[in-house]
Subunit: 341 residues, 2 copies
């Protein structure tokens, strides 16, 4: 396989380094080889080249089987015309990554901010539409007045709905579509299209929920959800709310997928500039992102081996500071590699 | 005072009945008198008159010193061209109610869905812009494509910012403005205007947060917030997430205020059609809404007496089913009246 690595900013380089090494170890054990190439993206690309997504980086991503991203952003680049965040939106659009998959599972309810009895057993996948809605509609900037347009087409809703229903088949067979159909025209279209697509999946149960009610339910009863299907901005908010329920966002990864082209895989944590370069970040989220990448490439046994190794390392007491331990980023990575078979 | 009562649908009539009686008792004890008039609004108005907000109802509200609302909505009216929800949006716009105040305080951390150590001490006021943004922008309905426009003007942001900064002065002096300025043009205008307004309030601390980070922080550390200032849709989502933290949404009220005209006061719970007419709902939220109304009318001692009476009734074991008890709606109302002095 060919994988384009975009280490990005802050702790991005140190966590992707461990993820790359973990995949190499899994490849050696499971009989595949990855050809890695590393490219500037985000703040580091702004500093070196001007734009956060240089043409050469995009070309390398297009030519790859998958993209592994670290993290982008930091206070240095806030307020510019081109920011690491505009680079992120640009690469999602350019690669057609319309489906963002963000799973979170509560393994140890003691670590959750929710009462253990409420958190126990929660296992939710947010399927977020990633290239439409308010993020990409026409914008009018202004000091007296400003506007953003939220637009969705039937086709955009259909294709993300299929992703959610298919994912539900491999899980517990339930999709909750989240919208604000009592207020928004785009949500009314969303609800009609999702309901129509559901007819193709008689084995999957569908219900609809308003976004405000969903925000409450994630806190009061997250176990009621299996797959949450929602549009771009609601997905941004709800997937972040979901991500804190397991107790450490350092463990979570996300996948952004298009139609046939390379997918992009990243930990959900940010660039954490305050601890960058100190070898203190947890690479577990980046390794989970790499596991999602291997799943996508068809190397599901190697993906399972990565996850198993992370779980064993943590259970064996190798813990980074976010989990209350003192293990270094590099030491955690080595512990994972040593447990891959 | 003249107050227009809009009991609305579901449990609305039974809870407002107790709130009205509680205010009458407080008026007798504190030397004021309220002239109540009751009007159809919401689903009940659709059934009787056609529109959810009949002209006569709106005229009565305009002529009143305040509006006390129960709750609107129910499965019977879903999907119509005019719904109870469109009535709610129409009355907010017609009365110019641009400021929605939704306070929530964790009194008993044992009742919170959050771990007690995280919830203890949380005391947050959401100041939500209520007549702009995606709710009221141009809409294009469609089966192939749909859109909603999010628009804000400088003046709309300024006036709600002033509400938030003033509220913070009477609290702990801290405003967190929530936006999505890394993506939305309206959020960038929002952030600039809020920052400019802050110059008038050197005694209030201001910080800015992205909406996704705010959704996480409400779950992982709600005590970091004092006043949250945000636009209409973000406020809808975040205030609902906040509202579950105390453990029972049955206790909370909200105020919607304009510029000089009558304000509208309502419990934050919905119409709960499943238990309507069974005398099982808690009127505590409606009584809290009435207390917020008395505060606004300048009867702050009577407002305090209402809150005190509710707290004493609950502490004395008079609890409706949402708090684990068996007290009826009417019995709880009587217990509150009996404790007003
Ligand atoms: C950085 C920002 C533009 C981005 C988003 O809002 O999509 C981030 O919050 C995310 O969820 O990946
Ligand atoms: C019923 C709905 C239109 C309304 C809103 O979204 O404003 C409600 O959720 C609220 O918060 O008052």
């Amino acid at each position: 396989y060919t994988v384009a690595v975009l280490p990005g900013d802050g702790i991005g380089p140190e966590v992707t380094r461990e993820a790359v090494a973990a995949v190499d170890a899994a490849g050696a054990a499971h009989g595949f080889h990855v050809r890695w190439s590393t490219h500037d993206f985000g703040g580091v690309a702004i500093d070196r080249h001007g734009p956060p997504l240089p043409d050469a980086t995009l070309a390398a991503c297009r030519a790859a089987d998958a993209v592994l991203l670290g993290a982008v952003g930091g206070p240095r680049w806030v307020g510019g015309a081109e920011t690491p965040e505009t680079g992120l939106l640009a690469i999602r659009k350019a690669l057609g990554l319309f489906a963002n998959l963000r799973p979170a599972r509560v393994d140890d309810p003691a670590l959750s901010p929710l009462k253990a009895g409420i958190a126990a057993g929660a296992d939710v996948l947010v399927v977020r539409e990633l290239t439409g809605g308010l993020y990409f509609g026409d914008k009018v900037e202004g000091d007296e007045e400003a506007s953003d347009l939220c637009r969705y087409s039937r086709g955009e809703v259909e294709r993300i709905a299929h992703v959610a229903f298919k994912a539900a088949r491999d899980r517990r067979g339930r999709v909750t579509s989240v919208d604000k159909a009592n207020v928004l025209a785009t949500s009314r279209l969303w609800r009609r299209v999702v309901t129509a697509v559901a007819a193709d999946y008689p084995d999957v149960a569908l219900d609809h929920m308003y976004v405000d009610a969903a925000a409450m339910a994630l806190v009061t009863g997250p176990t009621r959800f299996d797959v949450i299907l929602t549009e771009n901005l609601f997905g941004d908010i709800l997937s972040d709310a979901l991500s804190v329920l397991p107790g450490s966002i350092g463990l979570l990864g996300s996948a952004s997928l298009g139609d046939g082209g390379p997918g992009m895989f990243e930990p959900i944590h940010g660039s954490a500039p305050d601890i960058a370069g100190e070898d203190r970040a947890s690479p577990a989220g980046a390794i989970e992102a790499a596991a999602m990448m291997l799943d996508q490439l068809g190397e599901t046994r190697a993906a399972g081996a990565l996850r198993q190794a992370v779980a064993e390392a943590i259970a064996g007491g190798v813990r980074t500071p976010d989990l209350g331990g003192t293990a270094r980023c590099s030491a955690f990575g080595a512990a994972v590699r040593g447990r891959i078979d």
